[in-house]
Subunit: 498 residues, 2 copies
Amino acid sequence: MSRPQTEEQAVDSEGDSSLHRRDEEGTQSSHRMLGFSDALLSIIATVMILPVTHTEISPEQFDKSIQKLLATRIAVYLMTFLIVTVAWAAHTRLFQVVGKIDDTLALLNLACMMTITLLPYTFSLMVTFPDVPLGIFLFCVCVIAIGSVQALIVGYAFHFPHLLNLQIQCSTYRAQSRRHILRLVLRGPALCFVAAVFSLFFFPLSYVLMVTVIFLPHISKATTWCKDKLMGHRESPAHNVEPFSIDLHAPLSKERVEAFSDGVYAIVATLLILDICEDNVPDPKDVQEKFSGSLVAALGAYGPQFLAYFGSFATVGLLWFAHHSLFLHVRKATQTMGLLNILSLAFVGGLPLAYQQTSAFARQPRDELERVRVSCAIIFFASIFQFAIWTAALLHQTETLQPAVRFGGQEHAFMFAKLALYPCASLLAFAATCLLSRFSTAIFHLMQIAVPFAFLLLRLLVRLTLAALQVLWNLRPEHPQPGQGEPEAQSQLLPAPC
Amino acid sequence: MSRPQTEEQAVDSEGDSSLHRRDEEGTQSSHRMLGFSDALLSIIATVMILPVTHTEISPEQFDKSIQKLLATRIAVYLMTFLIVTVAWAAHTRLFQVVGKIDDTLALLNLACMMTITLLPYTFSLMVTFPDVPLGIFLFCVCVIAIGSVQALIVGYAFHFPHLLNLQIQCSTYRAQSRRHILRLVLRGPALCFVAAVFSLFFFPLSYVLMVTVIFLPHISKATTWCKDKLMGHRESPAHNVEPFSIDLHAPLSKERVEAFSDGVYAIVATLLILDICEDNVPDPKDVQEKFSGSLVAALGAYGPQFLAYFGSFATVGLLWFAHHSLFLHVRKATQTMGLLNILSLAFVGGLPLAYQQTSAFARQPRDELERVRVSCAIIFFASIFQFAIWTAALLHQTETLQPAVRFGGQEHAFMFAKLALYPCASLLAFAATCLLSRFSTAIFHLMQIAVPFAFLLLRLLVRLTLAALQVLWNLRPEHPQPGQGEPEAQSQLLPAPC
């Protein structure tokens, strides 16, 4: 949840000279409002996992209806996550154009946030009543409302141009930029308006239009990419440079990607403690009757839940740690990296499910194998998409990465090890449960305990491995640059990650 | 959730020259880790309101046991909020000393966070089993664990002094600072160790010691203040300047106060949508049976819940807006302001309770008067403490505030109106329910709808009021400075807020 404060600091340092302008125009740096919006959006995106984890499953009644309920809730979670990330990306674009805010814009932004919070409810309605067009109609109304508020924000900001970012403020193409950004903002709502009309008499088409709206940025990117490939380079680069710097293909703001990710990791890590506090405090009567008054014995019965909590918090924390380490070395986040990050976060949001699965071991030891495998799979996908962010960044490494982690950089091997640790560990655990299915729970817990120590000792381990490899491969002593031995070893060791 | 990025940017701009140092020492700017910690801590502090709001109350069974359960859960919420804010303040102090982090410190910080998340559980145990010493024993173990991890962080940072903040790094009193900060970090855990020992044979004393630990910073501040008053000025100011710049009386980092507050506001605003999505999706069978298949009619029954949700989100959002406006003009946050902010946030965390109360109207219209009053009271206290932050800041206005909002500043009257709006509105609504008790729900909803519009038109309203007052009071035209009429009017209008 970080935001550069340079703008505000600049205003502050102007001191009294800036006062008059402040009063006249009432402008403020937007960094805190954006941080708050990121926090809100990341929580809304993730919180719909709670109904999934609260689905009570016991082997006796694991029938069709429960399966359907679970599938329904997972669908709502995934759709919510997707649409909120799309809304977040649009919000990021919008406030790359609007550089400063005043009170009216802050209040309009709050109205926009409130409308976005209603989207999960429309999904719940849609999934519970797939044959009734009301859900999709309400969804369309929400999207139209969001679009209208965003169009108001654009209109207001272009009416008071000192609120725009400096590049557009000084641009000669300002009117063109305005048309362009309004088209971007209103494209989705216009489609939704059509969908709302169709929902009244032929709603299956509305669903198709809704899917189009959700995937619009990616469809638009794909078509542009295809066009570029077909027609050679971009048709009019000279025309493109200034007015379209706000388009959908510009890299996302790295700070906002970090802030949104931090919000997701923080809420996922803390959702677990809520379950612990609500469900795992024994009932005084039970303690008296079942455990003859011994609270310690009663708590002992919850042992597996606590173990699962520790494991789960450690997993979320360490995935955040890997993400944090990676983004320390990232210069800017391309669209592909943003998409991979969102996929990774969607699986991170599923980790409370993995926790629920492992903590249910105590109750249903029969199907623990399935549960361990689901947990391993969720961890694997969350971490492999993190790894994919790095490989995507390496493809354009001069633009996207700091020199230290590029091919041949001093931190390259270390970063590789950091990001490869969880995919390898979860894959190993998954494979081990296939071979030693009787010890699957023990294997899973062993993994959860071993990985944090591996992270602590990672630097040492990487150095040892590299040194061992250096000895084994018997490197030529032709370029004995002091302190530069490692990168050499790395570039030989890692010709192409992935 | 904001953090200045200047340090990191400085490192980045050094480019390749900073690489070697980076590799050698592996240091990183700590801003993102602190933002993540703030998010985690604010969520943990607030999330314990959920068990309170999930307490099912119906007038038929509102007996002693339900009352006791509700009181228990409110007590857990308040204790958790208090202890987490104490832990947060200690964490802020610690990372004012430790300026940069490396991987080991980031992992130690995660361990510290994990231990803090267990504190709510120990409170739940304590409150559910007040006669069993296990809860307090576990609490003490947690605090000792947190203290040990923090001592490790201090030890590690002083062992690698490049991790310390520059002021201490260059100080000649470094060893003394280390002793001092270690004493601060280990003071609480030492008391808890004694409490843990006592919990084994005479646990009431443990509770007394626990309360001491929680209020330690404030007790310590009060004693220092009394000592200062009794002995005149501080005894050795020359000695105090450098090594004790890390002590408990220095102002808190404004950025971290903002980040923590943003986290609380964001989680409170979004807790509500979870209830809406989980509880207010009608059951397909019910729709078929009770509403003869009409989903619109079924949703109509949830109308009051949605109205309450809108009102509640608007209240949280606008309180955040007032907080945001205030802190835009704050230069640094003193300890008193920090304490008032935390009190305000504790009531903001209670807003979902107010929501639950108002959304229960539909079900139990009998005791709606009580519920409207509880809601008004929570909103009043949340907003009056915000107002108190401002008055506390005005007492030391040259240090704490930007010139624009000081007495006579151009934004003074406007800020006064912004912060006074909610206390006045909630007080007015409360008074109105006393006079017109039959229309209490209508009055409450009217307030929730009117206040956002008041915020939108506030600048206009304040100007109109000031102009009217200027005409009424018939100001002397001796100092007709153009554009300076307002501050004059303000200074006459507002001799001393509060």
